[in-house]
């Protein structure tokens, strides 16, 4: 799959180059009629739902723009990096080599973002991420920071982790928290920022379990032995489903909670009964709550998605950032980068978006608390 994309992009890039050489003068003379944006995130793979939930937001924003019949149309291509840093490192050079691409809407996962940086930095390709929330990505002191090309329209885990701890322990008498991460850039980062606020409440124990682990019974035994009544997992849906099942089957009756990596619409299916009552957070509010009835109908018609998924609002905002710059006539990679750094954008629901020097939105954002009820994830309250 990835090889296909890479080779496809390579061929596309080679063709563009070849044509550019052969018909250079007429091509330069003709007005540039379209530009390309790439959506990068998991579209297949264990955590595909994360990207599948987000893509329609970007797709809709661009469809609305193109429907206005502008001078410069926008093509949207997909780059599937499966929420996997290794895959991202393989496909990012292909995206960067495609000269038509002037911006990347992505990535969804933090590991993907980090491993895409080398290729995109070298190519001067600007990224605006809908959900990559690891703190290190915009930390000026971190060796893996994305400066100057990386931006995100989501509050980072420095905001989300304390909110997750708050929401997980809400209404629990004498909470004892057990924290587990999945050793990824996102999961380990989230738990790292959750530990300090958790310690003020009471930590029963911690563990760090690699992705792909089948047997979670030993972790479940440990949680039971520790006497914890709140379990917080930093990681993604597929593993969380296995972990929470093992905990419930092992007789654990306390609170289960996780961050936005687990807040995907396929989580209740994968975790079955164990999903009931799971508390999830996300630095996002449901997109449909920001739309008018007519807008929602248009969204449904264009994307074929009935209920907008998590982070479709931020994916819409990320697309909106590029659209605004393209409307201003910024059609090259350097021009886009300057525009993204210096402009104040208007996102869904009229929110104002402005990036600081290192790519974070100024002002942060509220973190929403979600609950799983009857096999559906429903918005509950501000966490």
């Amino acid at each position: 799959m990835n090889k296909k994309i890479v080779s496809g992009l390579a061929i596309a890039a080679a063709t563009t180059l070849a044509l550019g050489v052969v018909v250079s003068s007429p091509a330069n003379a003709a007005a540039k009629k379209s530009v390309t944006l790439a959506f990068q995130g998991p579209l297949t793979g264990p955590d595909a739902q994360l990207g599948q939930d987000q893509f329609p937001g970007a797709e809709w924003a661009i469809a609305l723009y193109n429907a206005k019949n502008p001078a410069v149309k926008i093509n949207l291509i997909k780059a599937d990096s499966q929420c996997d840093g290794t895959v991202a490192a393989n496909i990012a050079p292909g995206v960067a080599a495609n000269k038509a691409v002037i911006g990347v809407i992505g990535t969804s996962c933090s590991g993907e973002a980090r491993n895409s940086f080398p290729a995109y930095k070298a190519a001067g390709l600007t990224m605006v991420a809908p959900s990559a929330s690891a703190v290190s990505l915009t930390d000026p002191k971190a060796p893996d920071r994305g400066f100057p090309i990386f931006h995100r329209v989501v509050a980072h885990d420095g905001f989300q982790a304390p909110a997750l701890v708050r929401y997980a322990t809400k209404g629990v008498t004498s909470p004892k928290i057990y924290l587990v991460d999945d050793q990824t850039t996102y999961g380990a980062g989230l738990i790292k920022y959750a530990i300090a606020p958790a310690k003020k409440i009471g930590v029963a124990g911690t563990d760090s379990v690699p992705r792909g682990t089948a047997d979670w019974t030993s972790v479940a035994s440990k949680v039971k032995a520790s006497g914890a009544n709140v379990v917080i997992y930093g990681g993604y849906t597929a593993e969380a489903a296995k972990f929470f099942k093992a905990l419930r089957d092992g007789g654990y009756t306390g609170i289960l909670a996780a961050g936005d990596g687990v807040n995907t619409s396929d989580f209740p299916d994968l975790a079955g009964k164990a999903a009931d009552g799971v508390r999830l957070t996300a630095a996002d509010v449901p997109f449909d709550s920001l739309l008018t009835a007519a807008e929602l109908a248009s969204f449904q018609k264009i994307t074929g998605v009935k209920v907008p998924g998590l982070y479709s609002a931020t994916a819409y905002n990320a697309a909106q950032v590029f659209i605004t710059c393209i409307e201003q006539g910024k059609l090259t990679r350097p021009a886009i980068q300057i525009c993204v750094k210096n402009t104040t954008f208007t996102g869904a629901g009229g929110s104002k978006i402005k990036f600081n020097r290192y790519g974070d939105i100024i002002g942060g954002a509220d973190v929403g608390g979600y609950l799983v009820k009857n096999g559906k994830i429903v918005y509950d309250a501000i966490a």
Partner: protein, 317 residues
């Protein structure tokens, strides 16, 4: 370090270690049987396991019509559903294992290829199977319906005797006893042992080598299929690359016990399952793989043929 887990959860960890370890043992048999006769590692065995887990899902969901959201079954319906799923998985794995032998081994052997060629062709088959399943499932994890409600017989000393755990302990033991008897007592079992001791001499005695090799792959496939059924019943999920971690664990178990040795596979799997449970409980899950492999290296330093390597000459499959 968390030693308090040992005091409170010791028997619980032992029980879970047994269940996990015995599933490893069954897959380890797939490696060890083939190694016994061919002196080669069948790298495609991990993908035979993967296909088995999907066969279980297919039988339960498509053939018997229990959707993922189905309610747990009870009584006779539960028993025959599980038996059909088990048999389906075993048949699928056995057929696939024999096919792997035909495609990746037999032709190369007939043409006198170097043994390493078969190793590579087996890896090729393995990658082919994994990538095919990746495309079919778009790499998404699949959930099995919970047909077996996880009720418990009760708790003894903190160990929860849950039906799926008990099933995952008893069935492999039954399979091992049957297999052990078969290899040691039946004519075909004797033929397998003869080939494993000396292919040349077995041929001189009139043993059909190709038939024995196919039979070995078939038996390895059957046990791997049983493992795939137990895995899917206990963990209720699978994914296209589920065979990778399982393959490494089972291969480790086979080496630990002494590869080529049926009883070695049994005890190797048990030892591995226990080590994993206790390492991840006491040191933390991030140290599980490190601990297991440090212990494996230490054991191989002192017993290069594995724990039961001494017995290899006598009871070699």
């Amino acid at each position: 370090m968390n030693f308090s887990v040992i005091t409170t959860q010791f028997w619980s960890l032992v029980l879970q270690g047994l269940a996990l370890g015995l599933i490893y043992s069954l897959v380890a048999l797939g490696y060890t049987m083939v190694y016994g006769v061919l002196r080669l590692i069948n790298f495609a065995n991990s993908e035979v396991f993967m296909l088995g887990t999907f066969a279980v899902l297919w039988v339960e969901i498509e053939v018997l019509g229990h959707p993922v959201t189905a309610k747990p079954l009870a009584g006779f319906e539960l028993v025959y559903t599980l038996v059909i799923a088990l048999v389906g998985s075993m048949i699928a794995c056995a057929v696939l294992a024999v096919l792997v032998e035909l495609v990746a081994y037999r032709r190369l052997r007939a043409r006198g290829a170097a043994p390493l060629s078969s190793l590579i062709s087996a890896i090729g088959v393995s990658i082919f199977l994994m990538e095919t399943m990746r495309m079919f499932t778009e790499s998404r994890p699949q959930t099995a319906p919970r047909l077996l409600d996880k009720w418990s017989f009760g708790e003894i000393a903190g160990a929860n005797f849950r039906i799926d755990t008990v099933l995952a302990i008893i069935s492999p033991i039954v399979i091992f006893v049957i297999l052990d008897q078969f290899v040691n007592r039946s004519r075909l079992g004797k033929a397998i042992r003869a080939v494993s001791l000396s292919e040349e001499n077995a041929k001189l005695m009139g043993i059909n080598i190709n038939r024995v090799i196919s039979l070995t792959f078939l038996i390895g496939g059957l046990t791997t299929g049983a493992a795939a059924f137990l895995y899917t019943t206990v963990y209720e999920n699978t994914v296209f690359n589920v065979g990778f971690n399982m393959g490494i664990a089972a291969f480790t178990a086979a080496v630990l016990g002494g590869i080529g040795n049926i009883r070695g596979a049994f005890y190797g799997g048990l030892a591995l399952g226990m080590m994993e449970q206790f390492a991840s409980a006491v040191l933390g899950s991030q140290w599980k793989a490190v601990t297991v492999f440090v212990i494996l290296v230490l054991i191989l330093l002192f017993k290069p043929n594995g724990l039961f390597g001494e017995a290899v000459q006598k009871t070699r499959t």
